[in-house]
Amino acid sequence: MAHGPAKGLTRWLYTTNHKDIGSMYLWFSFAMFILGGIFALVIRAELFQPGLQIVEPNLFNQMTTLHGLVMVFGAVMPAFVGLANWMIPMMVGAPDMALPRMNNWSFWILPFAFTMLVSTLFMEGGAPNFGWTFYAPLSTTYAPPSVTFFIFAVHIMGASSIMGSINIIATILNMRAPGMTMMKMPLFVWTWLITAYLLIAVMPVLAGVVTMMLMDIHFGTSFFNAAGGGDPVLFQHVFWFFGHPEVYIMILPAFGIVSAIIPTFARKPLFGYSSMVYATAAIAFLSFIVWAHHMFTAGMPLAGELFFMYATMLIAVPTGVKVFNWTATMFKGSMTFETPMLFSIAFVILFTIGGFSGLMLAIAPADFQYHDTYFVVAHFHYVLVPGAIFSITAGVYYWLPKWCGKMYSEVMGKTHFWLAFIGLNLTFFPMHFSGLAGMPRRIPDYHMMFADWNMISSIGAFLFGGAQILFLYIVISTIISGKKATDKVWENPEGLEWTVPSPAPYHTFSTPPEVK
């Protein structure tokens, strides 16, 4: 303990400590979560009533675009990388990440990427307004001039993710403590290992697709321009070849988090550990061969529709294995319902609802009806908000006492949970109904018949947003004035991270622990 953190601002600029970098990732991701949430609330405020009241349609489109981009690349992914930074070295008994200086770099380029992305709001012509999926030629021929800034921002985010993934794989494969065999690793480590491989495989494809856009816009190529022999549908194929694995990138680490939390509060070991590992790998493999289910209406032969329909439905099998394993872990357990457990149980239930609407969307003939309606919006928010956001929140409550050595207030935590749970369902459940009734997504105005559901959604959205401000207050007040936490924090939790004192010292496992 002779060597503590440096003092002042340069501690954060120059740090190579995985705990410092993990904290910076988490705070950055929370800032982006609030920013993306503000964009979402602009959308919901406009949709509170039919007609145009608050924003211009063009600004509305910029809000939907930036909300998606900021939430996906700014909130969810950095939060998982932050948790990985904090927890993976402690979980595998390593002193730090494998490449600490690259770790610093992969974090510090992110604020620049998002400053660049968000600054497009103040540029002439406005921010990107073509949706987070940026389909060409809408994002090339018809895009505002700021699209070039968007392209470079995506390049930087991609570089950050790839470097982060290389670091995580190198840490997991090379720096485990003696005795920590692959099949003894905590599931959070396993899911992140597979996620990191997915990231290295598809983030370059995203970089490739935006590079092709850049060439089409500025250098006269015709990748996506039919006039020069290109094809706009090619864009959709390349984009979704990235985009579908990307949605699993945003959910696999969540599986790892709840697989750590549920056994602790059910007071039983995780049911079916090895089947969890194989199911994760199976989902990762399947994620590469289902991309065209996003394009059922783009024009595909019957054989293609059938292949992508069945392959997509196949994903329900390994996902079902996981859901049943979590349920079996809780079955006959001595369950208690602390805040992390509440978020985890809500994760299991609500993620399953999102999975079911995903199965409905996978049915190619039915998808023609659902395509580009609020039903799709309801589906992916049900898998991402209770999936990614709830699991991250659960992880923060679960590990926060270990990070800062202080215990949060259980009453406040539960209040946060119930506000978020009610707000989330109020916001997104009615979208199933407005979507099935035919309300199209990404449109600032709508028919009178959708008015009631939209009003409920908007009220829920503001409730959910308010709950996150409470979350911020809880985290800050815990760090400042929480009660002292014990080293174990919970009753008999599993894992190496609970063998170090609370708060975790600046350097842990300088000598590797013995794993039996």
Partner: protein, 197 residues
């Protein structure tokens, strides 16, 4: 000479992972688009009709009559008037037919257009052969000029029996900026023409 891998296993692994990243980037930019084009050409998906077809002597199937419909669309910002002279024709598979599109440039400047074909149903794509088509090259129309654009085609006698109607659509794009050399050569030609007398 084979470069040695770094001694440190972490660095060796990172090199491999970084190479994987670069390989995936190359895959997205340089491999996916050509594969996609070849795939579409072989399977006829996307309704992209093939290039020039060498007519071979084949029997005309007088038993079947196929309706071939013609459409024309202008891409956004293309001011030409562009339309087929007939909406549809009925042809026997195997017989060569010619139809004409009319294009007119109403603007005050010379322009180059490019027509991009698309055909439905997709499964008929590889059975629709064009022996001569204006879409094989760019069209130069001077200010106020009109042109008659012929298209010779043969419907293959092997066309699947459930197909009775084929719809061929042309989208006309303004490609003036992409082919400045066409405008230059036409300007030279007209200069020579005026200089001669």
């Amino acid at each position: 000479m084979k470069l040695p891998m770094p001694q440190n296993p972490i660095h060796a692994l990172c090199l491999k992972l970084g190479a994987l990243g670069f390989a995936m980037f190359a895959f997205a930019v340089w491999i996916m688009p050509p594969i996609y084009d070849v795939f579409c050409e072989v399977t006829g998906l996307n309704g992209k009709t093939g290039g020039r077809y060498e007519a071979r002597v084949a029997g005309v199937d007088n038993e079947r009559l196929i309706t071939v419909q013609f459409l024309a669309t202008n891409n956004e910002g293309m001011p030409w008037s562009f339309a087929p002279e007939v909406q549809s024709v009925r042809v026997h598979p195997g017989e060569q037919t010619v139809i004409h599109y009319r294009a007119h440039n109403p603007t005050g400047k010379d322009m180059v257009g490019q027509a991009i074909p698309s055909l439905v149903p997709f499964k008929a794509t590889s059975y629709f052969h064009k022996t001569e088509c204006f879409c094989f090259e760019q069209q130069l129309l001077k200010a106020g000029e009109s042109a008659d654009l012929p298209m010779y085609f043969i419907v293959d006698p092997d066309l699947p029996s459930q197909v009775h109607t084929i719809t061929l659509s042309y989208a006309l794009f303004d490609v003036t900026d992409r082919y400045p050399e066409l405008l230059v050569s036409s300007a030279q030609l007209s200069n020579e023409a005026t200089a001669q007398p």
